[in-house]
Symmetry: C2
Subunit: 194 residues, 2 copies
Amino acid sequence: MLFHFRNIFPQLNPYWDKYLPFQKRLEIPPKTILLDEGKVSENYFFIEKGCVRLYFNNNGSDNTVQFFFENEGLTSLDSFLNNTPSAFSIETIEPSVIYQLPKKHVNKLMEELNNEPGFTKMMMQVMSTRQTHYINEFVSIIRDTPEQRYQNLLNNKPHIIQRVPQHYIASYLGVSTVHLSRIKSKLAKGKLHF
Amino acid sequence: MLFHFRNIFPQLNPYWDKYLPFQKRLEIPPKTILLDEGKVSENYFFIEKGCVRLYFNNNGSDNTVQFFFENEGLTSLDSFLNNTPSAFSIETIEPSVIYQLPKKHVNKLMEELNNEPGFTKMMMQVMSTRQTHYINEFVSIIRDTPEQRYQNLLNNKPHIIQRVPQHYIASYLGVSTVHLSRIKSKLAKGKLHF
DNA sequence: TTGGGACGATAACATATGTTATCAAGTTCA
DNA sequence: TGAACTTGATAACATATGTTATCGTCCCAA
């Protein structure tokens, strides 16, 4: 949400640079938990190398909300802003290199940015982009069948399918691993006709 | 999103009052469309009396995203802010009295508010509340069965069930009217045992 | 006043999806 | 190298949900 916007709003780059030294570099294996559902989000994460997912528990199994890759930043926003227990967990999928910036520094950065003209506009743009993203996911889950959602993923974000183990894809699409296998097999058969 | 906050941030009330004369009062029957999916959202609506729903089309049938009642305001936010085609339609459910404020006035109001200290913070709070709401809906649709979602509605927002025709409830829960009938009948039978 | 439309319940059937179990291939690590 | 784990495919069965059709009630407008 913040370091995303390095180079997108170049006049703000000095601010990002000033805070780089406060980040902690983590080299961590797959399935390392960065934030545990129910805890308050205390850090902002930025991915240098690897791959991470945001997910929530669902009677023992889990559902993935979003995947994150190199040069993307994330946190559990609601928890981070409002100090409420996070509805989501965050964990690595691959061996990863993560930069971790504690909340107190982010807050300080935000205060400094408040004096920068255009900051409100930028924040509204950022928040509105996020909101649009969630709304689209929301609509897609209701409107599209799992098969259509898989096709969308194939068309729009093939790197996710190539890179992420299939059971995480299933948990992202909201179906069982068995059913995702069925979908793939059905699509494969369909293609043979052409 | 705006007039919601009358009296919640009292120091801003003069601003709201200043813009009240620009609103147009509409007295309209049920099923009146206030915004059509695909069009750009040009107005902010405030409900004096009646009931309205935000929904999107889904191969001929439709899904309701949210219901709005007296003293609530709404628009299709993404479309309103970014001048993009709205993903949603808005229509009345009951005979309603609606105040309609054109976008140019809202924009002017926003510019004036920019000079008010605390405005950025308020906007972030507003946006983050909205986002939390969508995230919760999103999680609920994935995690909860339609039956659980109906129970949640009964427990948390019984006024909706009392007031809104059942087929809209079904379209909100994301099930067919037939299945919602099944759910109700099942719950009714369950209750007889006690 | 009446006839059509809106609303809701229910049955019968079709389809989508979950669950459990089994098998196979690839990877990791002691 | 071999055991344990991860990943993925598939079959068989169970359950959830959609679709279509029918019926009854209520209400409003011609």
